[in-house]
């Protein structure tokens, strides 16, 4: 479903955020990216939907090259409209939620349906109601983001991404900005999404979630994939020294 090959990303002269990533994610697979801050997890996710433009390498989602026109000869960047259409197929959830503060929770969820999928407000709202119920916020439809807790905001953000019926969902440290007691409700929703067969890539520091939900755990450090495997392999018998040190520090 997602194929990443030879992906590198530089910011300016000195910062090498990604130093050659190869990663394939199967349909329905849940992959958790773990690793220290600055290891490139976010940049990898942001490259998959082209919010960060790769320095080199190829990303494919559902067989289609992301950001560039497929075909022979010189690479040609997609135009704004085609790029947008491609991004609509890739759901993304941000660390800081990024709900639109001038829209109610329900409006946040349905804006893409109205503006991108061109559904009528009534049709969009019907889907929006279902999704708000799914993330357990049926009673908060009219609330503005300002009046929601962090956990509620992130659940609205998940519903907003799901509304587009994406082929894959990317989660960029979705619980890192939350008070500890609110983390569980967000993870529960993500677990529900995973159980329905969604292809997911999740950058996270929640090792419990990774252990429970991930089909595969990928450990990144300094812009590279250092080690990957099933949760049992990664948490049970880590091979690389760096991964061992990382787990020692995080699993106190």
């Amino acid at each position: 479903m997602i194929e990443v090959a030879g992906l590198t990303k530089r910011f300016g002269e000195n910062i090498q955020a990604l130093a050659g990533i190869d990663l394939t994610v199967q349909p329905g697979e849940v992959v958790c990216l773990i690793g220290p801050s600055g290891s490139g997890k976010s940049t990898l996710l942001r490259s998959i939907n082209f919010l960060d433009v790769p320095t080199s390498g190829v990303v494919r989602v559902a067989g289609k090259r992301v950001g560039f026109r497929d075909g022979v000869g010189r690479e040609r960047r997609l135009g704004g409209r085609e790029m947008a259409a491609q991004r609509a197929e890739i759901g993304m959830v941000f660390q800081l939620f990024q709900l639109w503060p001038h829209k109610s929770a329900l409006e946040n969820v349905i804006l893409g349906l109205v503006e991108v999928r061109r559904l009528s407000t009534a049709e969009a709202a019907r889907i929006g109601h279902e999704l708000m119920a799914k993330v357990d916020l049926a009673n908060k439809m009219d609330a503005f983001p300002e009046h929601l807790s962090g956990g509620q905001r992130q659940r609205v953000a998940i519903a907003r991404a799901l509304a587009m019926n994406p082929k894959v969902m990317l989660f960029d440290e979705p619980t890192s900005a939350l008070d500890p007691e609110l983390v569980g409700e967000v993870l529960a929703v993500m677990e529900k999404v995973a159980s329905e067969g969604m292809t997911m890539v999740v950058a996270t520091h929640e090792m419990g979630f990774a252990r429970r939900v991930a089909d595969r755990v990928v450990f990144m450090d300094q812009g590279r994939i250092v080690e990957q495997g099933t949760p049992e392999e990664i948490f049970g018998k880590p091979r690389h020294e760096r991964l061992k040190r990382f787990l020692d520090r995080i699993l106190v």
Binding site: R81, E89, R126
Partner: protein, 237 residues
């Protein structure tokens, strides 16, 4: 000499008509300056260096020189290169050029105040740039823009009195003409001042109302919008 505000009354219709002219030149030039200023602000934020540089230079010049000079330039200097304009048209051109520079900077600041992540969230659901601008950026920028924008609008209203020097029959020129024939400067200037104050107070009130309206989370959804969104639920059940 006695001060007699009663003498103003017969001149009120003339003063009101002049105030009408003040409103027309102010609002018209501000409207033009808002539209141009918006596109200039987008140009300032574009990837095209030449465009950015051109607008930057424009703002440098027109914000950095007096509007009185712009009025003189358009009315007295332009004929030398074959452009002759009526006083009214000249005033609109000069005042628009001037207020465009301010509006450009005010609108740019507002657009830039919208966090990058807000735009990325819209990109992530597949919205194109014009839609993002319309549905995400502008509504949020308005909150930042409204105070400096209305401040400039009020300042521009008062600045419109400068058009008197190129013989536009607006409030200031009309007041001058009345007191130079009646020698009632105190009464007439006070009346003109009161009219200016009424005009600018209307803008101040408009600003208060807009600020309140833009506190969307306190205002909540309109009942019409709420019905629209809820109707779907009942259809679903």
């Amino acid at each position: 000499m006695d001060i007699d505000f009663g003498m103003v009354i017969p001149y009120l219709p003339i003063l009101f008509k002049a105030a009408g002219m003040t409103i027309v030149i102010t609002v018209l030039s501000q409207a033009i300056g808002t539209v141009l200023g918006f596109f200039f602000a987008l140009a300032r934020l574009s990837d095209i260096a030449v465009l950015r540089g051109a607008v930057w230079t424009y703002v440098l010049i027109f914000r950095g020189t007096p509007m009185l000079l712009h009025l003189f330039y358009v009315y007295y200097a332009a004929p030398a290169v074959g452009i002759t304009l009526e006083p009214f048209t000249a005033a609109i051109v000069a005042m628009s050029l001037s207020t465009t520079a301010y509006n450009c900077e005010i609108l740019r600041a507002g657009l830039q105040a919208v966090p990058r992540g807000q735009i990325e969230a819209a990109q992530a659901v597949g919205m194109t740039w014009p839609r993002i601008l319309r549905t995400i950026v502008i509504p949020q920028a308005l909150r930042v823009i409204i105070v400096p924008y209305m401040t400039n609008f009020i300042s521009h209203t008062k600045g419109s009195s400068l058009a008197s020097v190129i013989t536009v029959p607006e409030l200031m020129l009309t007041a001058q003409m009345i007191y130079s024939s009646t020698y009632r400067a105190i009464e007439i200037l006070t009346a003109a001042g009161a009219i200016y104050l009424i005009l600018t107070s209307a803008l101040t009130l408009a600003q208060l109302w807009l600020e309140k309206w833009l506190r969307y989370d306190e205002r909540g959804l309109s009942s019409r919008r709420r019905r629209q969104l809820l109707l779907a639920a009942s259809g679903n059940g």
